[in-house]
Symmetry: C2
Subunit: 206 residues, 2 copies
DNA sequence: GGTATCATGTGAACGGCGCTCACATTAGGT
DNA sequence: ACCTAATGTGAGCGCCGTTCACATGATACC
């Protein structure tokens, strides 16, 4: 079960496992490339090309570790936009933070979401689940009476889709304020719908 | 300007340019891998590893050609869901077609949207623009008085995001009918919002 | 203290990759 | 028939992921 997550602090190098992830993220953000070469990471960390294999099964495993860091940083970013949102406006501000994170750290974001998620990585699976739960928690607080599932899916999808369309240049994204307005408008629209008709399989009419 | 799109029919091989794209898509869908190797494509097409470079500048160019085919097939698929949607229900059926396309041809979809779009590929840029215009056309027909920009952005983003979250396993996607219901519910929610309050800076109501 | 043991690190090597180049072949225009 | 340009080839470069036999350092046990 990928035991010793806590590094033994220092054998020769001192937590090379974490150092490799750090080096990988640096390379990612400097080069702008989504591809990351294990050999390049090893060079950056100052070890031989074979060394990473002591700490990660293969390239995919290192990438998953990088993605997991990304999920954690995204979660921090969302939380710092608003620690515990419970109104549509606060929720919208978190959505804006999500999209801006994608735009400010595009390569990391693509690593996190641009490829099939490796289900063998406990770290990665746990980190994505945390983001999902965070979104869902917001929705539950903001609309306690709504259909949590449908609504939180819709909101996450909307925000996630906005992030990707901006990232891919399908929506103009040069000025953050424009992006923020667009995201806010879209989220408000969806939320207004929810107020108007609480849930699909619910009472009255639509 | 990447002239002779129309192949001269047959020199030695007979439109190898198109044959390479076909081979690439076959490999993609057989292997389930997002990566595609130019050498493997060449083997599949029965030519030497150097041959593709007569027809495509580099690997990226071939990938873009593959993506362009994907955009065209997606457009066909949407059109066959409904040729000219003009009601929320019809729009929702197109949205479902979009997400199901992503789930049925995951590798192709990832090639289309999972990496930075190469702006040097006329073919690719044109094909993505076509999809964007198609979505926008639907919105204009369905809600002539609404804020086209904001609404078509929101709808595309929502649908695109739903596609990716399903694809990444963040939303359960084993039974297409469940996916269809989820997508329909989300789209209906967004559209209802638009009816209730047409647009941020728009006239009366609808 | 001495030594066995295991985690940590290395260099060389394998095959596959993207890509280039010098060269062969074929098709078409004149 | 011949020249030219399009089409196709094989060898080769450097990089990649990965593995392996081997070195080195830290610790555990006597």
């Amino acid at each position: 079960m990928s035991t010793s997550k806590a590094p033994k602090a220092a054998y020769h190098h001192g937590d090379l496992r974490a150092a490799l992830v750090r080096a990988a993220i640096e390379l990612l953000e400097e080069s702008g490339e989504t591809e990351l070469s294990l050999r390049a990471v090893a060079r950056r960390a100052g070890v031989s090309p074979a060394e990473p294999y002591r700490h990660y099964a293969d390239r995919e495993a290192l990438v998953s570790a990088v993605a997991a860091v990304g999920y954690r940083e995204l979660a921090e970013r969302l939380a710092s936009a608003h620690p515990s949102p419970s109104t549509p406006e606060e929720l919208a501000s978190v959505a804006v933070a999500y999209v801006l994170f994608a735009l400010q750290r595009p390569t990391l974001f693509r690593i996190m979401f641009g490829e099939p998620c490796d289900r063998d990585s406990d770290e990665r699976v746990a980190a994505t689940a945390a983001v999902a739960l965070y979104v869902r928690g917001i929705v539950e607080r903001t609309f306690p009476q709504a259909d949590d599932d449908a609504l939180s899916n819709a909101i996450w999808a909307l925000v996630h889709g906005l992030a990707f369309l901006h990232l891919d240049g399908k929506l103009e994204a040069s000025r953050p304020s424009v992006v923020a307005d667009r995201v806010t408008a879209a989220v408000q629209a969806l939320l207004t719908a929810t107020r108007a008709q609480p849930a699909p399989a619910a009472p009255g009419q639509a």
